[in-house]
């Protein structure tokens, strides 16, 4: 009797909801690898890894794993469907306690409107494999879309869904110029609230220049083999945001090799060093505070020495004010929250515009 009542109620509810809105057509899924995967430093079209680590067998296991994360990658596509959905699988890696699962393992959709990339919806990640309606009830004009991949996990499979009968085609890479950003967890996107809020992604959309994300959480330590790889990238400029992970001594030992190796392969490309953000856990912890001070002192010294050595088109962005001065710009005492990232952009964006313009990378 109870079961019968429940069924009757469910039927009533379904009928009510049905009356509220017209039924939607079934979703038709397309493997995202047949669309346009953008954001890789080297073309690697049949994988969602950032770098083909089989080519770089001598990288550490930690770096290899981080290069499987989707930070900075996006699927470019066009559709006139009023609804966009996704099915995707990531790994069962433990979620990070300083990130939302949306940023860590989820998706983030932007759509171009009036020449600007605007947020449209997210793919929420609650499991290893997820299916989610990212946006619906849109008008039926054709739209250019960018679907950002998870910042801190590997995408094992991804399909983009649209309503049956609507078109779904590969989009262009909307950002013709390429800036390689090599760095730490901050570069990789911890702790942005969703994948599109990582600062290289925000810079790309706001400047129309592709800031390619080679943030290596905790492992952006300027090893020689990584420097050698970076130098072979096809790029119009380089950002070195890698002074939070190495020790002050490693900064002293490794910076010149990194900069000079890039310079050798890219005689004219601007190279922009960004000092470490101030760690907010050092607000009261004097040991942490002193560590970052020493990292940034040594970064400054290396910059000055390299300028003395005659390295041209080398720039330094100072770290002191990147997160503002109220100590509210970080999630966990280390990684910026979206407020901190916004403050970083207020310093970095005008500097990057000035540098790229003065070097004729952009007009």
């Amino acid at each position: 009797m109870k079961k019968l009542l429940t069924t009757a109620l469910s039927t009533c509810l379904a009928a009510f909801l049905y009356a509220q809105q017209p039924p939607k057509p079934p979703v038709s899924y397309t493997d995202a690898l047949s669309l346009n995967l953008i954001g890789q430093v080297f073309p690697l079209k049949k994988s969602y890894h950032r770098i083909d680590t089989a080519v770089y067998a001598d990288f550490s296991a930690g770096i290899k794993r981080l290069l499987t994360n989707g930070a900075g990658l996006a699927i470019s596509f066009k559709t006139n469907s009023p609804r966009i959905t996704a099915k995707w699988c990531v790994t069962n890696a433990r979620p990070h306690n300083n990130m939302t699962p949306i940023a860590d393992k989820g998706l983030d959709l932007y759509i171009k409107r009036n020449g600007k990339w605007e947020f449209a919806g997210v793919g929420r990640a609650d499991a290893v494999c997820n299916e989610f309606v990212i946006v619906q009830n849109m008008d039926r004009t054709e739209k250019e879309c960018l679907l950002y991949l998870p910042l801190y996990d590997e995408v094992r499979s991804l399909s983009v869904g649209v309503d049956s009968g609507y078109q779904l085609t590969p989009g262009e890479d909307p950002f013709p110029k390429r800036v390689v950003v090599y760095g730490s967890s901050v570069t990789q996107g911890a702790s942005a609230s969703r994948p599109g809020m990582a600062y290289p992604a925000r810079l790309s959309r706001e400047m129309g220049v592709h800031f390619l994300n080679l943030g290596l959480s905790g492992s952006g330590k300027m090893e020689r083999n990584v420097a050698d790889m970076l130098a072979t990238a096809k790029a119009d400029a380089f950002v070195l945001d890698c002074f939070a992970n190495p020790s002050p001594e490693q900064i002293k030992e490794r910076t010149a090799y990194l900069v000079k190796t890039i310079r050798k392969m890219h005689p004219d490309a601007p190279i922009v060093m960004i000092q470490s953000i101030i760690r907010q856990s050092g607000n009261f912890d004097s040991t942490v505070r002193r560590l970052v001070e020493r990292q940034n002192e040594n970064t400054l010294k290396q910059y000055e020495q390299l300028k003395k050595d005659g390295i041209q088109r080398l720039y330094l962005i100072r770290g002191e004010d990147l997160l503002g001065n109220d100590h509210e710009g970080a999630t966990d005492g280390i990684h910026p929250n979206d407020l901190g990232f916004d403050r970083m952009l207020q310093v970095i964006r005008p500097e990057m515009i000035r540098i790229l313009k003065s070097n004729q990378v952009i007009k």
Copy 2:
């Protein structure tokens, strides 16, 4: 042999670390309930719930569960210990995909310095029960501390640890005036990056007035029994940020009862209605956009009708610009990220200062 080698290596590593820094004294733990738990609307000193729901037996099960969450509660204490740690247990409730585990189930410490509350460290939550060093290597002056509880989970137990031999005593409630904030998930703190970044907590620290968090995620719907409870609160003012959860029809039916019931018990208290933030998922989804427009139209109409009915000291803060206009201020299309909350504060804070000053609640 392998085991022997591992042991030898561990011993070497321990010796190395030991040489790096002097050994710390053992930690001495104190049950946080013997310190000063602040932020409850009604005193409830032996529980980390926001409201004693046994007193309000007719509240819905959903509201009762939400009232067990720690949003807005904090432990006030004083210590001169160079290190502060915590041990705490929450429930095994599924983590929210739009929040960091630190915000959802973790802790957030602020320390007063030069008259201002400044971020000091977090308690990272990776399990049901956690132990974490929140901050260390501090100077040994006595400090006033506020340890915020998890926004979206129930604290089952909590102990604060300091180095043995240092004092740990209850602190005062630093915020003498009391503003009850009744609202939705946005009020409760989704999706702030950590507990102290929920907007009522930020308002409290920045204004020196206690904004008591009665945000009820998804359930801030102005039911009569909730209105009756709110009206009995000891408060200097009320903020009604509860227009995102009810349907437009419910806003029409319920707002007058809520406002008039509060007014009857508090003839002089300012009552501030805040329209819903704009849902960023409605940026392209016309159904969502229209829903929020209708909620905010009806909120405005109710406000105007109540003013016509002669309700004095009633104020309205408009919703349109609360998250800015670049659509980057939300985590999941609904809930503000820290950038969105910061933008909300830029509108709400000066309005609240003006309103509380003009009503002699603050000078």
